[in-house]
Symmetry: C2
Subunit: 320 residues, 2 copies
């Protein structure tokens, strides 16, 4: 990317490389947001699979509200990777999670994409530093990690590699926001980024419990869907525990329940609860609460739990 | 408990010992389900605090649907613990989380409660084996661990201690189900039970990330509320990964992505993925899926994500 880079708000054409579940989900999302999408995938049945995926997603996307000019007709399948990216204004790569494959593919994309265009990878497992190793212009490559299905789940985690320019990261974050996603911009690479580290911690604890005969998969799922899972769509783990501290919030929670961090409630060892960590959590919760009092948060939480339970009951009963 | 124990469906009177946030939440729940509740708490302002809590919860409980005969008038504050339990048909203890306090309180409750009545503790941190140490008739003591707020979150984890009779555990599970809760009956004591072990794994990973400057509390919360948190009210972690395996489900997921368990995506070490663990996960997911195909689950998931996002948007906008 350079001084001629298009402004994120001016992008009208997006290229998606890879059209499986994730790539196809991105394509459905970009079409619904009104972009012209060019797709390429080496599989021979790409066109038919992609049409099925988009057909299946379109009613939901229509219900959520299509952008002006959004149409399934705005999709072009390119015959080669090079043609797909040659006039791209933004490229999203969603190939299988194999490092060598990603390295080679990103090098090919990088070589064929105009120099002022940002290239983003959907990888969930690799850092951009290792993936951009063979790229001629690695400074415009970023990770833009979505969640399945990308046309519904808003989260995208954006982070660069060692050779990525900061402005490419900033550009990608701004573009994803404009394209309707909720963006977390990370300052540095961490394996698994943020959400997958938290998910993976739950997943490994769950596997340990099953391996030890302490719980069945059905019990594990019920413990989430009938319990904390009902709070998490509104309040993440930090604000959830901010409320657990009562009127004293996170400060009270850490000062009084800090010792329980040493309890064997998971196989994951706790960090040392230093004064610095305590203060970061307290200030971070203030920031996340964004002016909402504990009473406001409790009242919103209760409202959200009721509405989420009703929404889920409706789905379980098969209401349309 | 003995052969004269009342049937769970015949219970009309419940005693709650401790009337703080959790005890008060239980009282609101039992009143809404039509029970007569007797409460005792050593604090001098119990009555006024309890009335405020019940007043605040009642509109939500009314909206969710009160049981026949449910009334806030069906609450009696007893002057002593002994009077509170003397004619109880079921006792729920929700005292502060201090082992010595719980041991002494449960011994007092046990001594004063009719022998054929089940006594349950709301503890989130202790096992019944250590709590029942000083009880004269420990065989009728169980853990019945709720989630905050107990009048909204359905989950209750039920487990006995070493001296608890199996029929007391069975009785409590049946009673909680009748009283409108979603019950997980555990075969054996595990520190933190199930949901809190999973929550605690997320929490510790989150604390590590903040301590290392890898993420802020606000980013951690956003990564859940805009990401996997939108799926968890419908599908727990096991069925979520069952879908991540595509048409092959959990079997495909473990056989193909098993090696990623070794990735440093969390500080929690993974268990060895033995054939036995693999088979338990695959069979457990079949059981949890309960006849629903992958396509059914995907379609329900998408419906649920949309409805949950709408519910949360409504709460954020302040719709009533």
């Amino acid at each position: 990317m350079n001084e001629h880079t298009i402004a994120p708000a001016d992008v009208t054409r997006v290229t998606c490389i890879g059209a499986g579940v994730i790539g196809g989900g991105w394509i459905a999302h970009f079409l619904a947001r009104g972009y012209h999408v060019t797709a390429w995938d080496p599989a021979s049945d790409t066109e038919s699979k992609l049409h099925r995926l988009i057909e299946a997603a379109w009613p939901a996307l229509t219900e959520l509200g299509l952008a002006e000019g959004a149409s399934r007709e705005n999709l072009t399948i390119a015959p080669t990777l090079e043609e797909a990216v040659s006039s791209a204004q933004f490229v999203q790569e969603s190939a299988p999670e194999t490092l060598e494959l990603k390295q080679d593919l990103l090098a090919r994309i990088d070589a064929a994409t105009p120099a002022d265009v940002v290239v983003s990878s959907s990888t969930s497992g690799y850092g951009m530093t290792e993936m951009q190793a063979h790229c001629p212009t690695p400074q415009r490559l970023v990770v833009g990690h979505p969640f399945n299905p990308p046309y519904l789940i808003p989260l995208v985690e954006v982070v660069g590699g060692e050779k990525t320019e900061h402005r490419a990261v900033r550009w990608a974050s701004e573009f994803f926001e404009i394209a309707g996603k909720s963006v977390i911009t990370m300052d540095r690479e961490v394996p698994g980024f943020i959400a997958n580290r938290l998910q993976e911690a739950i997943w490994r604890e769950a596997l340990h419990m099953v391996a030890n005969g302490e719980a069945t998969p059905a019990q594990i799922d019920t413990s989430i869907t009938e319990g904390p899972g009902l709070r998490w769509p509104l309040l993440g783990p930090c604000l959830t525990f901010h409320l657990a501290g009562g009127e004293g919030g996170m400060a009270h929670m850490l000062d009084h329940f800090g010792p329980s961090l040493k309890s064997p409630w998971t196989r994951l060892e706790a960090p040392e609860l230093t004064d610095d960590l305590r203060d970061r959590m307290v200030q971070g919760c203030e920031e996340a609460a964004d002016g909402r009092s504990i009473a406001d948060l409790v009242s919103d939480r209760d409202r959200a739990i009721i509405d989420v339970m009703r929404a889920i009951d409706g789905v379980r009963r098969g209401d349309s």
